[in-house]
């Protein structure tokens, strides 16, 4: 390929990335316009008042706690599932992924129903940790599957014990993945409204929502949104400093992903105990409460609306996930080459956007979408909203997977005369595919339970499982919500099972 073509390729790649970054900035531009409606004096007053500082402190503390807890348990559970010989090992992954399908407000309702005094900061940390733990487990598992098994064998034969092997050989290789998972967990905790509001914890997101809800003050909400964005920026920078400590340029996955499974009884028992406890707390208990509420006051199930809502949910979430995949692809390709500061900035912009609450992104798209005529309130625009809301998931998985591809391999391939596209297709894609697939499915799973943007942007009369659950729970009819919640989890179980099949993931590497 001659240099002119290469330059043209690079230019079109850069403009594609620029366009995606611009799209992801729609909410930011919207917020800027709204915030500028307010006089500077009022903005400053709003920013420096004691209340804002208190709420910011609560938010920071909560995010730090959630990230620390999920990182510890997530990496431990993922490693246990990967390295320890367990009965029904594949199936054990499922309960650790399923909580992804339960909307945080349903989660919280069920716990409140069980423990009446369940409320406050610790309760919120507990719920958000349960909700976000699957992100870390999944992303870490994806990282573990590309850890070179032969290195572990070598480390063991050199006399390192399991713990030493883990910290010296395994952990450095999965650090990038774990931190990507932590990023998703932290951003989720920042943007969550359902759980924290029900538990009476005021985070920035709750403040923002309260401003819309109570005063219709869109400008004040925009100003507070910028506080949230500032925190998200700091959080992303902190995460990057951890990620870049990962060793680069190692040759991964040239030998084998096979490794002997550990058969030590205490370890087996510990891992089983951890997985079962998590499954009980995060899946069985919410189900138990939903089902008992259903059977204590049973209603006839409206099969027709159940079926329609299921099909609608799957369709629009799937389209959203595909759009997210397509939108994150140019950035992935760009960052898999020589990493430019432009690519990094685009990546950060997209990731920071994930901290914004759904209602803000929803209103931003209402503001623009309502000017688009026939496109407004269509499934396509809703799917696009999902892609925009959850783009960070797809981008984070994509870049952390691509970071696993050693630069050496790319350079070698290039010296064999492969052009950038062939390098992407033949060298990079096979290594990164599982992670990218995971990102796409994460978008799909999260989109299925999205509520605030769905309510605003869906076609009028279009019901998803989440809107059905909302319309029942908003008037305290848990019994009526139960069938929809059950279907939501069952539908989510299928892709969860698919991505958690180890044999599938392994084959993708060959």
């Amino acid at each position: 390929m001659n240099t002119r073509m290469q330059r043209a390729l690079k230019l079109s790649l850069n403009s594609a990335v620029g366009m995606v970054a611009a799209l992801s900035m729609i909410p930011l531009v919207y917020l800027f316009v709204r915030a500028s409606d307010k006089p500077m004096g009022e903005i400053v007053q709003l920013l420096v008042r004691q209340k804002t500082l208190d709420v910011l402190t609560t938010t920071i503390l909560m995010v730090v706690c959630v990230v620390a807890i999920t990182l510890f348990f997530g990496v431990a559970i993922a490693s246990g599932l990967h390295f320890v010989h367990l009965p029904l090992r594949r199936l054990l992954i499922i309960p650790t992924v399923l909580p992804l399908a339960i909307p945080s407000y349903v989660f919280t309702y069920t716990w409140i129903a069980l423990v009446p005094s369940f409320s406050g900061f610790a309760a919120a940390v507990f719920i958000l940790s349960l909700t976000t733990l699957p992100y870390i487990i999944l992303v870490t598992l994806a990282g573990l599957r590309s850890v070179d098994g032969s290195q572990i064998e070598v480390a063991r034969s050199l006399g390192l014990n399991y713990r030493q092997t883990f910290f010296r050989v395994v952990f450095p290789q999965i650090r990038g993945h774990a931190s990507a998972g932590a990023l998703l967990a932290g951003l989720y905790a920042m943007s969550d409204f359902g759980a924290v509001s029900l538990l009476n914890v005021e985070t920035l997101t709750v403040s923002i929502q309260n401003m819309y809800r109570a005063s219709y003050d869109r400008s004040a909400a925009a100003v507070i949104s910028f506080v949230l964005i500032a925190f998200a920026v700091l959080f992303v920078i902190a995460e990057e400093s951890i990620k870049t400590k990962s060793p680069d340029g190692q040759i991964v996955k040239t030998f084998s992903t096979k490794h002997a499974l550990i058969r030590k009884r205490p370890l087996q028992v510990t891992v089983m105990f951890a997985v079962i406890t998590f499954g009980v707390v995060a899946v069985v208990i919410p189900f138990y409460v939903l089902l008992t509420r259903f059977f204590s006051n049973p209603v006839g199930i409206d099969w027709r609306s159940l079926l329609t809502a299921t099909i609608s949910t799957i369709t629009v979430a799937a389209i959203g996930a595909i759009i997210a995949l397509v939108l994150s692809a140019p950035l992935g390709v760009l960052l898999s080459g020589k990493v430019t500061s432009f690519g990094r900035i685009a990546e950060r912009t997209i990731v920071v956007g994930a901290a914004l609450p759904g209602v803000v992104v929803g209103l931003a798209l209402v503001s623009i979408g309502s000017k688009l005529g026939a496109l407004y309130q269509t499934t396509l625009l809703l799917a696009f909203a999902y892609a925009l809301l959850f783009l960070a998931k797809s981008v984070a998985s994509m870049t952390s997977s691509l970071a696993r591809v050693p630069n050496g391999v790319k350079e070698v391939a290039a010296t064999f005369g492969m052009n950038q596209w062939s390098v992407v297709r033949k060298v990079i894609a096979p290594i990164a595919a599982p992670g990218i697939g995971l990102g796409t499915i994460l978008v799909f799973l999260t989109a299925m339970k999205e509520l605030p943007a769905t309510l605003m942007l869906r076609p009028t009369g279009f019901e998803t499982l989440a809107t059905q659950i909302w319309s029942s729970t908003s008037i305290n009819r848990f019994n009526e919500a139960a069938p929809f919640a059950l279907i939501l989890v069952l539908v989510a179980a299928i892709p969860s099972f698919y991505i958690s099949r180890p044999d599938k993931a392994d084959r993708a590497f060959i």
Partner: protein, 323 residues
């Protein structure tokens, strides 16, 4: 004005209308039966978008003149006031909703009250021996750590706005601070307050009257909670309304007005009383079971139209740390 009145005798205009888009802040469960009935009566298909009143309000404000909505049904007067203030509602002709007394209609006729919601104190009859006579009693040590409120809830804010109007900002502020000092518990929703009383977490809560039925129906059992009214004339007995307004951007204003006429007709009003346990706004109408009639509650005389200016309420709630 003459033109608008012309619109309302809307026969020829309504005839070629085949569908109407409604944004409904009222939940499907309670309002859908009414809308279905109107659909069959009028032959006009309704596209109904359900959501939270405040979020739909934010949405309508964002959509501005591009809003696909013809009619907005809201849970509360505050939302209607915000849209009215932005100039997005038409002024309704005087022959629309004639059955509704002027006190439940905004001054400029931008919106019409459809049903009444009484502010009450919900309480556990076995635990509260001395009932409060006035909202002022709630700051007394007798009720320490026993009271629940939902400060983000629109109906609570409407009440505080009325309190400011009625007794002045200074009183309202010291009352709110008194509540905080008295260990008031904060909830996100009215229903959560009623459930908390039933569970024994608190004994008294400031809510709307119909949450008793809602919570009980959801739980599928009777609950240990009753509705109480303060002394007649006390500001705590405020009557708020759910209501409706027609969007200025709508091209089907006549049909939208017909729907308002249906919702405010005597049969529909009676159906609200029996089915959703709300108050009919028509003079002399029956009350929901076990409750005094609307004109016997001793509601304070408050201009509901003025409750839209909740900015000051907001600032006050923020100042005392409840928002």
């Amino acid at each position: 004005m003459g033109l608008l009145v012309g619109c309302s005798s809307s026969n020829e205009q309504t005839q070629d209308v085949t569908n109407l888009t409604i944004y409904s802040g009222r939940s499907e469960e309670f309002i859908a039966p009414f809308l279905v009935e109107w659909e069959t009566q009028s032959g006009i298909k309704l596209n109904i978008r359900y959501g939270d009143s405040a979020e739909l309000t934010a949405q309508i404000l964002e959509e501005g003149s591009n809003s696909p909505a013809d009619l907005f049904l809201s849970q509360d007067a505050g939302s209607l006031g915000a849209i009215s203030e932005a100039g997005l509602f038409i002024s309704l002709p005087s022959d629309v909703a004639q059955s509704i007394p002027a006190q439940f209609v905004s001054v400029n006729r931008n919106w019409i009250g459809v049903t009444g919601r009484a502010r009450v104190f919900a309480y556990a009859p076995d635990r509260v021996k001395t009932l409060p006579q006035s909202v002022a009693d709630l700051t007394k040590p007798l009720y320490k750590n026993q009271i629940g409120i939902a400060p983000t809830n629109a109906s609570f804010q409407a009440f505080v706005t009325a309190l400011i109007q009625n007794k002045g900002e200074k009183f309202a502020k010291s009352w709110l601070q008194g509540l905080t000092a008295n260990g008031v518990k904060i909830y996100q929703k009215n229903s959560a307050i009623v459930e908390a009383i039933d569970k024994g977490e608190i004994s008294i809560g400031l809510v709307n009257h119909y949450y008793l039925w809602e919570v009980s129906k959801g739980l599928g059992r009777s609950i240990n909670v009753k509705n109480g009214f303060f002394t007649p004339g006390d500001i705590g007995n405020l009557i708020n309304v759910s209501g409706a307004g027609v969007l200025a951007s709508s091209k089907k204003q006549g049909a939208a007005q017909d729907l308002i006429n249906y919702l405010t007709s005597a049969p529909a009003q009676q159906k609200f009383v029996t089915d959703t346990h709300e108050y009919s706004l028509i003079d002399g109408a029956n009350a929901p079971a076990e409750l005094p009639r609307l004109d016997q509650i001793g509601a304070p005389s408050i201009d509901l139209g003025k409750l839209k200016s909740i900015k000051r309420t907001q600032d006050l709630l923020i100042e005392v740390g409840l928002l």
